[in-house]
Amino acid sequence: MTSRGWLGLCLVLLPLGAFGEEDATLRASPRTTTLELKLGSYTPRIDQESGLGGATPFSSTYGGGLLLGELELDHHLFQAFGTAAVGLSVGYGEKFGRATVVGTGESSTEMVGFKVLPLKVWAVYRLDYFAFHHNIPLVPYLKVGLAHARWWATKGGAIETVEVTQPDGSVTTVQGFGGKWGYAGVAGLSFLLDVLEPRLAKDGDSDIGINHSYLFAEYVYEELDDFGGNAFNLGSRRWMFGLALEL
């Protein structure tokens, strides 16, 4: 960003910061937990598998990505310079398409679906020091986590099964569901909503225990391929947007 850009950002933020002046007569309740609700478009990296030879079965069947919703709960461990926390998140997304007629490749009337349920354990760091001590209402944060995602593919309302011919000529039936391990990293930026309505924010804390609320955007980098396995990669590169409540 140019120097003029930084000056412009400061001119915008400083007046907002003026609204965030602490009222010494009201003591905030302890901050212990952050609750996040977020949505984003999720496209698993299934079609990037080298063994597919350029084929794109996921995007050919389902088109674009699916809408993924996630709920995350972080518990604060440390609140000296910024906030360190550990957290759990759970998400869900599904997408539907149509099966193709074998032989002709035409679209059939039979519906197929792909569903995913990611679970993650996080280590979180939020640089909220400047928001609470210098009235700058922006909080950057980083997360790293261990991830596991359950997936299942359906056809005609049931789990899709595929008969696979083995090298010895025998046929085995493979079921379209399973789970993948991996890791995830997140870089995000939150905007402290308290600066827009400071009085309401303080009332929210005293009445129902919501210390602060934020809108946030975060970029997710994840690999869910069993740590380098050759099969499904349920990882993705995506943006997530949501609302965070500090309790």
Binding site: T32, G53, F78, A80, V121, K155
Partner: protein, 295 residues
């Protein structure tokens, strides 16, 4: 003055609160309606009466069956089923009685109907009444009857056949879509016949409100004839609908397309414990984090 006004206002409310109604219920199996099929003429129906008497019972409890409307007492041609004196039924509170279908008034009248005659529905009501008063020798009496008379119907009318709007081919399956399902229908059946077969094979029953039925375990590329019929509460079965044809087709979903393209994922339960391990690790971390936040 204010206390007098308050008393005058409250007294009618209190008086009203002390009035509790007498009642009479007649039920079969907890229900106030019963529908039987055309072959039920020899059926003996057992019903239960229940009374609540507030004040004094001044007349006997009488229960009767009628092919018309319930009055305050049996009319000519009605069949009396219960006649209990005013001295006995209030203490009893409840009791049972029976009625044989073929002995009901419509079937024993001077010009009787034929019990179970085809395409005919005959409804009888089981009526009841007694009267109560604060003093049976002075003042008016109130006739107590069921809020809704019990209705016993012999239904010999077949429901109309449903209409098959569409037969949708699926992989080793067909989805049959219905319209115009008779309102009296309670169950739906679908019959399937493969080429060269003589008889249809019946699948079901399905609930009659289920307008899409999936027939599975069929062979792909085989043209099946499909027809449907419904059954009502009395057991009357409709004529079958006109037959439609559907041919299941082999289809490939995402996972089959992925495997066919060379994908190596084979799914299954191998990663089953993974979710539990993630949750377990998370709960352990949160448990350790249960200590107070350090500032």
């Amino acid at each position: 003055m204010r206390s007098i006004l308050l008393a005058l206002t409250l007294t009618p409310l209190v008086a009203g609160a002390q009035v509790v109604s007498s009642s009479l219920d007649i039920k079969v199996g907890g229900r106030t309606t019963l529908t039987l099929g055309p072959s039920s003429c020899d059926t003996v129906v057992q019903a239960t009466w229940t009374t609540t008497v507030q004040g004094l019972a001044c007349t006997p409890l009488v229960i009767w069956a009628t092919a018309g409307d319930c009055g305050d007492s049996p009319g000519s041609g009605d069949l009396k089923l219960v006649d209990l004196t005013a001295a006995t039924f209030p203490a009893q509170g409840t009791g049972t009685f029976t009625a044989t279908v073929k002995n009901l008034p419509a079937y024993t009248a001077a010009t009787p109907k034929t019990c179970g005659a085809a395409n005919e529905t005959v409804t009888h009501k089981l009526c009841g009444a007694f009267s109560v008063a604060a003093d049976c020798n002075f003042g008016s009496k109130t006739v107590v009857k069921p809020a809704e008379p019990f209705k016993l119907t012999v239904d010999a009318v077949k429901p109309s056949a449903p209409n098959i709007e569409e037969v949708v081919p699926q992989d080793k399956a067909l989805v049959v879509v219905f319209t115009d399902v008779d309102e009296s229908a309670t169950q739906l059946y679908v019959e399937v016949r493969a080429p060269g077969e003589v008889d249809f094979v019946r699948k079901g029953p399905f609930t009659s409100t289920q307008l899409r039925v999936r027939l599975e375990a069929l062979e792909n590329n085989v043209p099946y004839e499909v027809r449907a019929l419904v059954e009502d509460e009395a057991g009357n079965v409709s004529d079958p609908s006109s037959a439609s044809t559907g041919t299941p087709v082999d289809t490939a979903g995402f996972f089959e397309a992925y495997v066919a393209a060379g994908g190596s994922e084979r799914g299954g339960c191998a990663a089953g414990p993974g979710a539990a391990m993630v949750w377990g690790a998370g709960l352990l971390l949160l448990g350790l984090a249960g200590k107070r936040v350090r500032r």
